[in-house]
């Protein structure tokens, strides 16, 4: 395995991760801040021998994914918040038909048309189902360009393993930031056989992809099967990262780009001798419930930071289940919390007054004037 260090945007890394994982069909519609995904796909997918198609809408794109996934190929779509809302009907069908597919959401500020600045307010939509019916998306949240590559590739494996749609929940920072990355030329790709695929019945009986079950008993049976998969995933697919958590009495909980900002806040807090750590869920569904429960049992307090008015915090509270204090700090609508304001919130939990901003300690040129 050879590697080379190059500068890359998060959105491009998503494309490269997908193609490395054997994705051979992309169907999408333009929306900022994810446009680099279809743009790179339009060049790289045909080079890889795959299909790139700009659909007439997000509704059409997800239904093209539904058809393409029915053939057993690894396929995906990407969009940003308003476009992901439009895809929900199709995602529900894909989950109900137990088709593997990957959906990337480069979240932006909302609700409504919102703006093109970063947001994390699509958390509920991503991890609680999103469309109609009892289903879940296996959801991964990258915090770096490198993770955009690896977690997108992993999303395809998870989708195949569970025959369920998987979501990469990115945001405008993670998608747009440029970092040096070392990406492998090749990764191991194991695509399981898909005897259920509708590829033409040659050599077998007919296959049907369907989510219509008129008999409630049969429909409940399908639901039970879905739930059994999610239970299995909850046992096997928990992913998270801990930084300076062991001796911490306050644990920040954040995912994606906000976790990056929180890491800086942890460093700042540590420089003030505050025992603060960071817990970063990498998988959002299944959520790392047990590790958080364990930290709560160890007597740690939690400060959940999100670019929303409190969505993931509900899952943290469910995990903590009253065993420890859970504080929330959020900005929204495209506003990104700064390390300093998070630090101030940390200080407040220790009964300290908001300090002088560390940025203001090193005044910029205007300040000196």
């Amino acid at each position: 395995m050879t590697t080379k260090k190059i500068l890359m945007k998060g959105n491009e890394a998503v494309v490269r991760g997908a193609i490395a994982a054997g994705c051979r069909g992309f169907f999408g519609y333009p929306i900022t801040p994810q446009n680099e995904v279809p743009e790179y796909m339009s060049v790289l997918m045909p080079q890889a021998g795959g299909v790139f198609l700009q659909a007439e809408s997000e509704v059409a794109a997800i239904n093209m994914v539904y058809g393409a996934a029915s053939t057993g190929a690894r396929v995906m779509t990407s969009s940003s918040s308003p476009g992901i809302s439009l895809k929900q009907e199709g995602i529900s069908y894909i989950a109900a038909c137990e088709l593997p597919a990957v959906i990337v959401n480069v979240q932006r500020g909302g609700p409504g048309l919102g703006n093109i600045a970063p947001g994390q307010a699509d958390y509920f939509q991503a991890v609680k189902g999103g469309g109609h019916g009892d289903y879940k998306l296996l959801t991964l949240a990258p915090w770096s360009v490198s993770e955009c590559f690896y977690l997108t590739a992993l999303a395809f494996d998870l989708a195949d393993r569970y025959r369920n749609p998987a979501m990469v929940l990115s945001d405008a920072i993670v998608g747009q930031m440029i970092e040096p990355v070392e990406l492998p030329d090749k990764i191991e790709v194991n695509i399981p056989p898909k005897p259920w695929a509708t590829t033409g019945r040659k050599g077998r009986g007919k296959n049907v992809i369907n989510s219509l079950w008129i008999s409630p008993d049969q429909m409940e049976e399908v639901n039970r099967r879905l739930q059994a998969k999610y239970t299995l995933a909850m046992e096997r697919e928990v992913r998270y990262q801990e930084l300076a958590v062991e001796d911490a009495d306050l644990v920040l909980v954040a995912y994606g780009s906000v976790a990056r900002i929180c890491r800086t806040a942890v460093d700042l807090a540590r420089s003030e001798r505050l025992s603060v750590g960071l817990f970063r869920p990498i998988g959002l569904f299944p959520f790392p419930t047990l590790p958080i429960q364990w930290l709560a049992e160890c007597g740690k307090r939690f400060l959940v930071v999100e670019m929303s008015h409190g969505q993931m915090v509900e899952d943290v509270r469910l995990a903590v289940n009253g065993r420890a204090e859970v504080i929330f700090y959020g900005r929204s609508g495209g506003v990104v919390p700064t390390p300093t304001e998070i630090l101030d919130r940390i200080r407040k939990t220790y009964g300290r007054s908001a300090g002088v901003s560390h940025y203001r300690l090193n005044p910029g040129p205007e300040a000196r004037r």
């Binding site: 069909g25 539904y66 058809g67 033409g200 040659k202 007919k206 369907n210 219509l212």
Partner: protein
């Protein structure tokens, strides 16, 4: 003894659940015959709609996918692009194709997607109880226009063939009226051409079938056929709108 009539191989043993005299059954059989005659059963993938024909996957012996309401052309696009050697058809009602799914059908046609579309225009939403469809005629009664469709309130019926024929993408667009032996023969020929086009590597083909809904129209099957002839045909004229 010589067998002169049998069930096409492409039809399953499941009995149709359609109302007596409904042309859905007739068109299903024609599609199955065409699949048999072209010898493409093993590589055909059908996309069925939401509507009375929602259970088409039970009736056909080829691989089938059940699409969301109106999205069959997008689903078909996904299948055909991944499997260019397959034969992909959609089967859609007028609510499905000409109302909720207008964007998908227009763009599949504009792209010249290499699929065959069988469009059943019965002027009503059969499955949900006979509500007004985009193809309901002016003055025609339905459960959501009990006094008859009023253009001032509900606009005008959509002529799908004429509309799609303005595009450069489609290879074949035709409208047929299977209300008599000649119409039935023409319908079968049109469906066969729509499928053969795909075998020949040609692009988008659509056959609009002027169909009936004796149940929601509150007519006998025979009355429903004369009603098509006398009222539907003058507005939705049969013919070939594109053939290239």
């Amino acid at each position: 003894m010589q067998k002169v009539f049998e069930k096409p191989q492409a039809l399953s043993d499941t009995p149709f659940a359609y109302c007596p005299g409904c042309l859905h059954s007739v068109v299903h059989r024609m599609i199955a015959e065409v699949i048999d005659e072209l010898g493409v059963l093993d590589r055909t993938i059908g996309i069925c709609p939401v509507g009375c024909s929602v259970f088409m996957y039970e009736y056909m012996e080829c691989d089938m996918i059940e699409a969301a309401h109106g999205r069959a052309p997008a689903v078909a696009t996904g299948v055909k692009r991944m499997l260019p050697d397959s034969v992909v058809f959609t089967y859609q009602g007028d609510g499905d194709l000409a109302s909720i799914g207008t964007a998908e059908i227009v763009h599949a046609a504009a792209r010249g997607e290499k699929i065959s579309v069988i469009f059943i225009n019965n002027g009503t939403y059969g499955m949900t109880g006979g509500q007004m469809a985009p193809t309901t005629l002016i003055g025609q009664k339905s459960s959501t226009c009990p006094g008859g469709r009023d253009a001032a309130a509900a606009g005008y019926p959509i002529r799908v063939c004429e509309m799609l024929a303005t595009l450069d993408g489609p290879s074949y667009i035709t409208r047929v009226a299977p209300v008599d032996p000649v119409g039935l023969t023409k319908t079968k020929m049109a469906i066969k051409k729509a499928f053969r086009n795909q075998v020949d590597g040609k692009g988008f083909s659509l056959v609009e079938v002027l169909s009936n809904c004796p149940t929601q129209w509150k007519m006998t099957p025979v009355e429903s056929l004369s009603w098509i002839d006398e009222n539907v045909v003058p507005y939705f004229q049969p013919g070939v709108f594109a053939d290239r």
